[in-house]
């Protein structure tokens, strides 16, 4: 039996690394990758909870999280592509077209 604190720690560490990536990096593609890391951390915690409660609900919720991650990646990349075609940069600080 894997201790639940170890599973939670792994999930939280992955979540923290992803959060740092989103906050620290200024490349849009790497920020989207860090979002995938965040969602992976959440999935680890859900799977660990399901394992410890011996319930399939953890896996089911993690599957829905994966579906959401796929949607986010597809739409996010479409936005990055169209943004890149217009501005020729990935810098998120340049996204200020609506600024008054």
């Amino acid at each position: 039996m894997i201790p639940i604190n170890a599973v939670f720690a792994l999930g939280l560490i992955l979540f923290g690394i992803g959060l740092l990536g989103v906050l620290l990096r200024k490349n849009l593609v790497i920020m989207l990758m860090s979002l995938e890391l965040l969602l992976n951390g959440v999935n680890v915690i859900l799977a660990g909870s399901g394992y410890h409660l011996s319930s399939p609900r953890g896996s089911i919720f993690a599957i829905f999280v994966i579906i959401m991650a796929v949607s986010e990646a597809a739409v996010g990349f479409a936005l990055v592509l169209s943004y890149f075609r217009q501005k020729k940069t990935y810098d998120p600080d340049e996204i200020n077209d609506l600024k008054g």
Binding site: I2, I4, N5, A6, V7, F8, A9, L10, L14, G16, I17, G18, L19, G21, L23, R25, K26, N27, I30, L32, M33, S34, E36, L37, N40, N43, V44, A47, S49, G50, H52, L53, S54, S55, P56, R57, G58, S59, I60, A62, I63, F64, I66, I67, M68, A69, V70, S71, A73, A74, V75, F77, A78, L81, S82, F84, R85, T89, Y90, D91
Partner: protein
């Protein structure tokens, strides 16, 4: 015992490659480390007896999302670099927010009681997962299919060239 050893192995691999994802200068190297992280997390899922989740992770992340990332990086200019300098206020925000999160997580973990309490006994098998997914969770399942259809149409409409009024 061997399960714990395998779990620790995959956990260390996942954390190390996740750190390398956000440290790389080259975006393509980042994507390859992301693929490595995803495969290690799939190994963690197999250790946690979530076989279906691990298989989905391998197929969807390893086969789908990573390839999507590689395509996008090939399409957009790889040599485009972004200056990683920031002003003072965003820097302070970046340092404080994860520190606060870390404090909160430490406080929760140090309370030394299990954060989840056992519910009614359910079997952790493939069959029970399928039965529950198609009975209790059938509405979210169908909503997810509608979401995926909307994402398909939306991504095509956003990414196609014709909408941009751009001569090239």
């Amino acid at each position: 015992m061997i399960t714990i050893a395998v779990f620790i192995f995959f956990a260390v691999l996942a954390v190390v490659s996740a750190v390398l994802v956000i440290l790389q200068k080259n975006v393509m190297h980042s994507v390859l480390y992301l693929a490595f992280t995803v495969l290690s997390v799939a190994g963690v899922f197999f250790c946690l007896q979530a076989e279906y989740l691990g298989a989905i992770q391998l197929l969807v992340y390893g086969g789908g999302i990573v390839v999507l990332y590689i395509f996008v990086i090939i399409i957009v200019n790889l040599r485009e670099t972004v200056r990683e300098k920031r002003r003072l206020f965003p820097k302070l925000f970046i340092i404080t927010m994860p520190a606060l999160l870390l404090l909160e997580i430490g406080a929760v973990l140090l309370q030394n009681k299990s954060p989840v309490s056992p519910g009614p006994e359910e079997a952790l098998s493939f069959t029970s997962l399928a039965e529950m997914l198609f009975s209790n969770y059938i509405v979210p399942f169908e909503v997810a299919s509608v979401l995926l259809l909307a994402v398909l149409i939306g991504a095509i409409i956003i990414a196609r060239k014709k909408m941009l009024h751009d001569p090239d």
